[in-house]
């Protein structure tokens, strides 16, 4: 029993929490931005896969790591544009469009990857982001060891949460975004163009999702393999609900979620083979479902979420 609690005392656990949380933070913020403008983006799983693939491929072909991140972001924005064209001006089903984008982006990733990188016994690798040694942070007691020695994109993820919170709640642009998600007709009456706001938000949100995917291949691991996103996108969609559509809570939710994940990974080694490892692997998905159940009634959903906006139609 003591061993189960001792896990919390190890710095390795807390460092792992931030590492596991990073793609979730990016993904959740991306999905949150789309939903704040009133559009559910189920393309997330495929967009993360494509970001992971294209970012890795860019670096594998000689680009530097930040260019890889940028390429991933641009690819995400392009899939976002496709999603936006179909769901905003055409007003098609956001569920089906999103799933279509996921299936398309994922299969396109595998196609491009297999085309450019021949099948090999050991997958080719790149040199990923190295942990930064930040002088003052590492001196902090307890959390210092976890906060320092992360790779640069992790800090970027945390900063993005702050930036998104600032934009959404402290700027006119944020007000326009939130109005569009609550009542696009009222927003239009105030001189906001709901169509433009939605398209912009989906593109920016999808770019964040793709960066979350790229973190997997450029920092967490050093190679790409199919199915590596493993439902993280769907977890992000659940986290948005858990966070009640607030960036700060999204950050907390992703960290909490990553804590459970990091804990179960270490628990596996302590418990050994007494409990099938698959039960531990189920934890993230079951937790996401529980998070939805707990928050479903309490969460304040953007009122125009999943409602297409057509001028002159109500």
């Amino acid at each position: 029993m003591i061993e189960l609690i001792e896990i919390f005392g190890t710095a390795g656990l807390w460092a792992a929490v931030l590492r596991i949380a990073t793609p979730l933070i990016f993904g959740t913020l991306g999905a949150l931005l789309c939903e704040r403008a009133g559009v559910l983006n189920l393309g997330i799983e495929g967009i993360m896969t494509f970001g992971a693939m294209i970012g890795w491929l860019a670096v594998f072909n000689g680009a530097d790591l930040w260019t890889g991140i940028l390429v991933a972001a641009l690819s995400g924005a392009m899939f976002g544009l496709l999603h936006a064209i179909m769901t905003v001006p055409l007003g098609l089903s956001q569920h089906v469009t999103g799933l279509g984008i996921t299936l398309f982006a994922a299969s396109l990733s595998y196609f491009i990857f297999r085309l450019t990188v021949p099948l090999a016994a050991t997958p080719p690798t790149i040199t990923p982001f190295q942990p930064l040694d930040i002088p003052f942070l590492s001196d902090l007691p307890f959390i210092g060891a976890a906060l320092a020695n992360q790779t640069a994109p992790t800090y970027l993820a945390i900063a993005t949460a702050g930036l998104l919170a600032y934009i959404l709640f402290r700027t006119p642009l944020g007000l326009a975004i939130r109005m569009t998600g609550e009542n696009p007709h009222a927003a239009e009456a105030q001189g906001v163009n709901p169509v433009a706001v939605r398209i912009g938000c989906i593109m920016a949100g999808s770019a964040l999702m793709a960066v979350g995917g790229a973190f997997l291949t450029l920092s967490a691991f050093n190679s790409f393999f199919p199915t590596m996103v493993q439902g993280r996108g769907w977890v992000c969609i659940a986290l948005v609900v858990f966070a009640s559509w607030r960036p700060g809570r999204a950050l907390l939710g992703a960290l909490l979620f990553a804590l459970f994940d990091a804990y179960q990974l270490r628990l596996q080694t302590v418990v050994g083979r007494a409990i099938p490892y698959q039960l531990f692997l189920m934890v993230p998905y079951v937790l996401s479902i529980l998070a939805l159940v707990v928050m479903a009634r309490r969460a304040r959903v953007p009122q125009a979420l999943m409602q297409p906006f057509r001028r002159g139609e109500r």
Partner: protein, 349 residues
């Protein structure tokens, strides 16, 4: 330029939509093939040969069509009632593992006439139960079933993995994680000798027509349509929302579970975690290509299966990755959505 709603939905246009959608998807994939440096028409010719070019190719395509019809129907009946069952993949797997468990368990010495139907029912019930969980969460707590059914897919595959490495492990499989085999009496009879094609295809096709009749001729069919078109109006008209959705979920989950059961009993004989190359997800595309029509699902499933089987042959012949089939099929979902939109709207200057 602006979009204007059509007063009528021209029937010819609705029927043409899938053809246009598939054509557009093939054209876009053609660009990808050209970018990959391969001859486009030769690639498509090879896909056709790979799917229909020989007796073996045709039976393989039809074998692959079978699970796609059933998962396609699973999505079609659910989507018609606006029940977003994206969990057919997981339901497929629990249906398959239920067959292995039931077949290896107390039913192992039953004669074929009793064993085959009970195994099919076992698979269907397993799929049903898996979908009832997210439906209950929706009815009781208001949780959107899209995300829960998606998440349960991963749980289901992990559960299957746990079973085939644990209690249902085949001790004679040299350490490979696979389930105990289905007893011989539980295997579905072949339709064509010296091929993998089995009677599952007939079962799937018949179910497609039966569902069509049920949807157009029965009260349940009308209720499930009403719930999908406008839940509030349906409730106002006296349609019980929860009971109707439970019925739809049992049908949808049951079909996906049945797909898994039939795949094990007809093709593989045992369960592994790669039993389905994404049949559950492809079923969504099949359903949309058919515009949710049960008989259309059969044709759409044949198209998807032909792409998948044909692309394998094409890949061996000219070296373009067979993933191009997945790209084309996924694209056809997006183009179908757009094509359907233009059956309802037109562009006016």
């Amino acid at each position: 330029m602006r979009l204007e709603r059509r007063a009528h939905r021209p029937l010819a246009l609705v029927l043409l939509a899938p053809v246009i959608a598939v054509g557009a998807a093939l054209a876009i994939s053609g660009i990808l093939i050209a970018l990959a440096g391969a001859p486009v028409f030769e690639a498509y010719r090879q896909i056709l040969i790979g799917a229909f070019g020989s007796r073996l190719a045709i039976t393989e395509t039809l074998t692959r069509t079978t699970p796609l019809i059933l998962t396609g129907l699973a999505a079609a009946v659910a989507f018609r009632a606006r029940l977003w069952n994206i969990g057919a993949e997981g339901q497929f797997f629990v249906g398959a593992i239920a067959v292995a468990a039931f077949g290896a368990g107390f039913a192992s010495h039953w004669p074929a006439w009793a064993l085959i139907p009970s195994l099919l029912v076992a698979g269907a019930i397993a799929g049903m139960l898996l979908l009832l969980v997210p439906l209950m969460l929706r009815l009781r707590f208001g949780v959107d079933e899209v995300v829960t059914t998606l998440l349960l897919n991963f749980v289901a595959v992990l559960f299957v993995s746990m079973m085939i490495e644990g209690p249902l492990r085949d001790p004679l499989a040299f350490g490979w994680p696979q389930s105990v085999p289905v007893p011989e009496e539980g295997e579905l009879p072949r339709l064509v000798e010296r091929s993998r094609l089995h009677v599952g295809l007939l079962i799937a096709v018949v179910i497609g027509f039966v569902i069509h009749l049920a949807q157009s001729r029965t009260v349940f069919g009308l209720k499930s349509k009403a719930v999908g078109l406008n839940p509030k109006a349906a409730v106002f008209a006296g349609v019980p929302l929860a009971t109707t959705l439970v019925g739809v979920a049992c049908l949808s989950g049951g079909l996906a579970g049945l797909a898994g059961a039939i795949e094990v009993m007809g093709v593989k004989g045992y369960v592994t975690t790669d039993l389905s190359p994404g049949y559950g997800y492809a079923g969504i595309i099949v359903a949309m290509l058919a515009n949710l029509h049960p008989v259309g699902v059969i044709a759409a499933a044949l198209f998807a299966a032909a792409m998948f089987v044909g692309a394998d042959g094409m890949s061996r012949a000219i070296g373009i990755p067979s993933y191009i089939a997945d790209v084309t099929v996924a694209l056809s979902l997006l183009t179908m959505l757009v094509a359907l939109f233009f059956t309802q709207y037109r562009i006016r200057r």
